[in-house]
């Protein structure tokens, strides 16, 4: 079989195996042998594709980052209003079902990990920044001088993203029910996008 393999594809397969381990046993369970076993190969094979464990970890983190971005891009197509698009994107970020809970655990683990290994934080930061700017753009499109809430669109976007990720963390810890998080999110969106906020003034 030599020579015929797609290098990039193999690396992604291994990264996926790693992510599966992180999702249900945590970062500390990641070892070359475990990743190999999870992928159905030996640790030597893992070594063949990654010079070190650090390189493997860094690659897996990038895969996570790309996956989040891809999910975001997919979620925001076909919405008929800025509000609907933002809501779709933000809902797609929340760990509301089991597969997304797994992904959320992985993401959280890597966020914590990159806190100690700052050289890996770039990918995650890019993600946050991109999302923040995207939200800001959407908000800018619908806000007028009258409807703005005493903050800039970028501030509103930053707050929205922080709110969503905070809700996500709480959901991963099962601190309250998913529908409660969604209701909080919808109330916030109503503040940002709804006209009814001035109904009582």
């Amino acid at each position: 079989m030599p020579k015929r393999v797609d290098h990039a594809e193999r690396r992604e397969q291994l990264a996926e195996a790693l992510l599966r381990i992180v999702a249900d046993r945590g970062l500390e369970a990641v070892s070359l042998r475990h990743v190999g076993a999870e992928a159905g190969v030996t640790s030597g094979m893992v070594q063949h594709y990654f010079r070190s464990k650090d390189e493997l970890m860094a690659f897996a983190l990038e895969v996570v980052s790309e996956r989040v971005q891809a999910r975001a891009a997919a979620a925001m197509t076909g919405a008929d209003s800025a509000r609907a698009e933002v809501r779709a994107l933000v809902i797609s970020l929340l760990p509301l079902d089991e597969p997304r809970r797994l992904e959320g655990r992985v993401a959280l683990a890597f966020v914590s990990y990159s806190t100690i290994r700052p050289e890996l934080a770039a990918a995650l930061q890019q993600n946050t920044t991109g999302m923040r700017e995207h939200f800001a753009e959407q908000i800018r499109q619908v806000w007028t001088e009258e409807t703005r809430l005493g903050m800039t669109p970028l501030q509103a976007a930053t707050g929205l993203l922080a709110l969503v990720e905070g809700l996500g963390m709480h959901l991963l810890g099962e601190h309250y029910a998913p529908e409660e998080a969604v209701s909080v999110l919808d109330a916030h969106l109503e503040l940002l996008f709804g006209q009814s906020m001035r109904r009582s003034g």
Copy 2:
């Protein structure tokens, strides 16, 4: 020296050593020997006070939880309004200086950890729930039928806590400047507590 030691005190010293390790080398660097070395003792001594590593970890997590709660209690005394109290509490939660960044890293690591070890999640969940209810109570005290924003006080409280923890995560990842996070937070507090929100209606 035997018999004269305060068991609880020793355990806390060891837990603090562990937390120091987590803060600057991450959860994966925690081992009985490292904890002992950090505390200036041997791993055998650590074994004497904790039957297993898991027990040590669980104890350290509880210490973290108690510390957060203590900080919260300290931060909310002496405020002259509900809004000021909430702001003081919430600001004290953000990793705005280096010591609190260390604590934040530890807290984040344990949140991620407890995601995989659900039996340890109770302490953290209690923390969240307590905070949430406290915020809700404060908000309830100042909200009238007119000023409420289309959500319940508990929803507003949940959103505020999620926002703060999300901002905290982003700050740990250095995704933007601390003062930016504070400005977002203040804008949100103005929405929740300010009367000026109806100035344009």
